[in-house]
């Protein structure tokens, strides 16, 4: 029998034997094999962030939980993606996210098309058992076409990353820290006044919630178009070759 190349690793995910390239993450391999691991800050085409902690998985012999989005596969790894403990942790993390902002799905432009809302349903979060924090957060509607409602921002930094890595403008960044952290444009100056923003709308489309949205859209009217992201990444890779 032919020895497998050292670039190919074999491992088990939820009892299923899978093969993977050595530079792949657990998340990528799981997806290729139709195994679902919940994610929120992660989006294909952007660098990983590792902040939402929803993709944490158990690996046999490792006493810490590992984020599937950044953990690379290893030979003989035994991964468990959906233990009762992980389900419980994920639900609590979702509850923490919901408690942190002011997420009122009923009056949100992406109601029905929101990644956060979909996860709550999928992971069986029926209510939020931690107290709501009800922060008082500001809205920036100074841009002609788009608006930012920080009440719905979950600090996944997809907007920051897409603006930096794909558009190259780095108009967005995170300001402050801890529960006070929030996204800003430029020097915390109005988005509409920004000289660096190209109004390309990439941030709006990658935003998982209704925090960034197109103006003129009413409740449940906005859907996010994300096809551009894998396309642009692919085209750029081609050009640089």
């Amino acid at each position: 029998m032919k020895q497998p190349s050292s670039h190919i690793k074999t491992l088990q995910i939820d009892g299923q034997d899978v093969g993977a390239n050595q530079d792949e993450t657990i998340l990528e391999v799981a997806r290729e094999n139709g195994i679902y691991i919940p994610t929120l800050c992660e989006i294909e085409g952007l660098s990983p962030h590792g902040g939402c902690r929803l993709c944490l998985v158990e690996v046999k012999g490792v006493n810490k939980l590992l984020p599937a989005c950044v953990t690379h596969v290893q030979e003989g790894m035994e991964v468990f993606t959906n233990s009762p403990r992980l389900q419980e942790y994920r639900r609590t993390i979702l509850e923490l996210i919901f408690s942190e902002g002011n997420h009122i799905c009923a009056v949100c432009v992406v109601n029905g098309r929101c990644d956060l809302q979909a996860l709550a349903t999928k992971l069986g979060m029926t209510h939020v058992s931690v107290p709501y924090l009800y922060p008082r957060r500001s809205v920036d509607a100074s841009h002609d076409r788009f608006a930012l409602d920080r009440n719905r921002c979950i600090l996944c930094t997809r907007c920051v990353r897409v603006c930096d890595e794909i558009e190259g403008a780095h108009t967005w960044d995170v300001s402050g820290r801890g529960v006070q952290a929030h996204v800003v444009t430029d020097l915390n100056t109005p988005w509409g006044d920004s000289d660096t923003c190209t109004s390309c709308g990439k941030c709006v489309n990658v935003c998982p919630t209704g925090a960034l949205f197109e103006k003129g859209k009413a409740v449940a009217e906005m859907s996010k178009k994300r096809g551009f992201l894998p396309y642009l990444t692919q085209m750029r890779e081609k050009r640089s070759k």
Partner: protein, 537 residues
């Protein structure tokens, strides 16, 4: 710099010292300067003018609460609470019977029970003079390593000594060095973590202020061992004196060819730069510290890859803390066997602690690993003031725990502390007596973690805020048993799902106080229930 030159500098310095019959050492560290030891030194210098007596500023002598401290050698008389007005009298009584009203008894356990490696020079040498350090065998280890040992032999010595990281987690230093040495990279870096952020901890500040060259020498040896040519000391901006002394030390070492190009006549080159922190506790976490040196927000990133393989600007990077580096030169100089004879089976050597809180002797101590908490608190620390009762001792900072009296006889080492829900941490040791309320202490630490959370990962960012609110309810007697259950659930989630050590450790003060002082939580909850019951009927 050749070995002969090194010996010559040492000889000249010793000769200079020998010209004086008496030496007066004045502590010139932040805490003593705050009690105006700078004025004391000035007055002593004036009083000693023209006499066979030399006045010199030195590092910490340990008993910070009794400052300003002044020591007279060779008699070994220690004076406490000295004022500038005492200067003439102290000088006049040299060689005579000491000034008894100022005298501090050095025969007490506080002085007798300590074992000094890291602090061997502290209080003896002038930190602002490299010659003084050299006269105390300084830079001999670097010379030995560079000229008589291969990098692999240096690492082998460190590994054999059993030295473990003094920053808190206790990772094997030898193993860390090996990983960096093995990692491929066109450049490598050595970083000294001096972002001592634990409240109630000042070991690293004292070492940097009292013996900066010991740290630089340790870094240089480490750089030689792992193959790095550039080092950074990441130090808190809140420590201006430490920064100043470090800057001076780097300049002096460069001038003598002990840092810079072709050190000690070899091909080895190593430069050190200082990077200032800017008030972010999370930057003590190594990946956050690296981000900060790179000029970014100090947010940690998931590990692996570990900095040893992928660190500063993507290059293999060795990060150790101040105290770890300060152990290196003595180990090379005196041998791994000497070092590993001190301490316990798994925790070798000594540990420096900042002993503070409700204890008679507060200050800086260095003790062998394996000493009991009782010895530290009651013998060295002199017990609890005003006859009050001991309640707990907190170690490990905001990620550590409160240890009750039932564990006072437990040996202090990495494993034992972990077993009882605390943590070695960097060395803060805060004693609490019966007047301390443990729920409030837990809330105090949670406030710390909440404010210092970088905000990157959800469990730490939101979880610490939620736990703080729940603790606040308990403190105000407004919490229910359901709140307590929720608090415990959040502790579990935050501990196990947070990205870095800050979040993973944040629940520990709550968990340890719940474990040992649960009745204090319950009392406040019952108190609250009684009040509501009263209102509703």
């Amino acid at each position: 710099m050749m070995i002969e030159e090194l010996h010559k500098i040492a000889a000249v310095e010793r000769d200079e010292d020998n010209r004086f019959q008496h030496h007066i050492h004045v502590c010139m560290e932040t805490a003593c300067i705050a009690s105006r030891s700078d004025h004391v030194k000035q007055a002593l210098t004036e009083a000693a003018a023209g006499k066979p007596c030399r006045v010199k500023g030195v590092g910490c002598m340990g008993l910070c609460s009794a400052g300003p401290l002044v020591k007279v050698e060779p008699e070994g008389v220690l004076y406490q609470g000295v004022t500038p007005e005492d200067a003439t009298e102290i000088v006049a009584k040299l060689g005579d019977s000491p000034v008894s009203r100022l005298e501090c008894d050095t025969e007490t356990p506080f002085f007798k029970r300590q074992t000094k490696i890291v602090l061997e020079n502290s209080g003896l040498i002038d930190p602002e003079r490299i010659e003084n350090y050299i006269a105390a065998d300084g830079y001999l280890a670097l010379h030995t390593a560079l000229n008589t040992m291969t990098p692999a032999e240096v690492i082998a010595q460190i590994a054999k000594s059993g030295l473990r990281g003094r920053g808190g987690a206790g990772f094997s230093t030898g193993l860390k060095w090996t990983t960096v040495a093995k990692s491929q990279g066109e450049r490598k870096f050595v970083i000294c973590n001096a972002d001592e952020g634990d409240p109630g901890a000042f070991m690293d500040r004292s070492v940097l202020e009292g013996d900066p060259h010991a740290v630089l020498e340790g870094m240089a040896i480490a750089a030689y061992a792992v193959g790095a040519s550039q080092g950074y000391v990441y130090v808190r901006a809140e420590y201006p004196l430490a920064v100043e002394r470090l800057k001076l030390a780097i300049r002096q070492a460069k001038k003598l060819g002990l840092l810079g190009e072709n050190i000690c006549g070899t091909t080895f080159s190593f430069n050190v730069d200082i990077r200032l922190g800017a008030g972010a506790f999370v930057c003590g976490e190594e990946t956050a510290l690296i981000a900060s040196i790179e000029g970014k927000r100090g947010q940690p990133r998931p590990r692996p890859p570990f900095p040893a393989e992928y660190g500063l600007w993507g290059y293999p990077t060795l990060i150790n803390n101040v105290e770890t580096y300060a152990n290196v030169a003595p180990i090379i100089r005196k041998g791994a066997d000497w070092f590993s004879a001190i301490g316990t089976e798994k925790s070798k050597g000594t540990k420096v602690f900042a002993l503070t809180g409700q204890v008679v002797n507060t200050g800086l101590i260095e003790v062998p690993m394996g000493i009991t908490l009782r010895e530290i608190v009651f013998d060295i620390g002199g017990g609890i003031p005003e006859g009050r009762k001991f309640k707990a001792v907190q170690t490990g900072g905001p990620g550590g725990g409160c240890i009750p009296d039932e564990y006072l006889d437990m040996p202090v080492d990495y494993e034992s502390l972990l077993k009882i829900g605390s943590f070695m941490g960097s060395g803060g040791m805060i004693v609490m007596d019966e007047t301390s309320n443990m729920v409030e202490i837990a809330q105090y630490f949670m406030e710390f973690s909440k404010t210092e959370s970088c905000g990157k990962c959800v469990p730490c960012r939101v979880g610490t805020a939620q736990m703080y609110e729940l603790l606040d309810k308990v403190v105000k007697c407004e919490a229910t048993m359901d709140d307590l259950l929720l608090l415990e659930r959040l502790c579990d989630v935050v501990k196990n799902t947070s990205l870095c050590g800050l979040g993973q450790g944040a629940p520990n003060p709550v968990l340890s106080t719940l474990r040992y002082f649960r009745h204090e939580y319950l009392a406040r909850i019952q108190e609250g229930n009684r009040e509501t019951a009263f209102v509703s009927h």
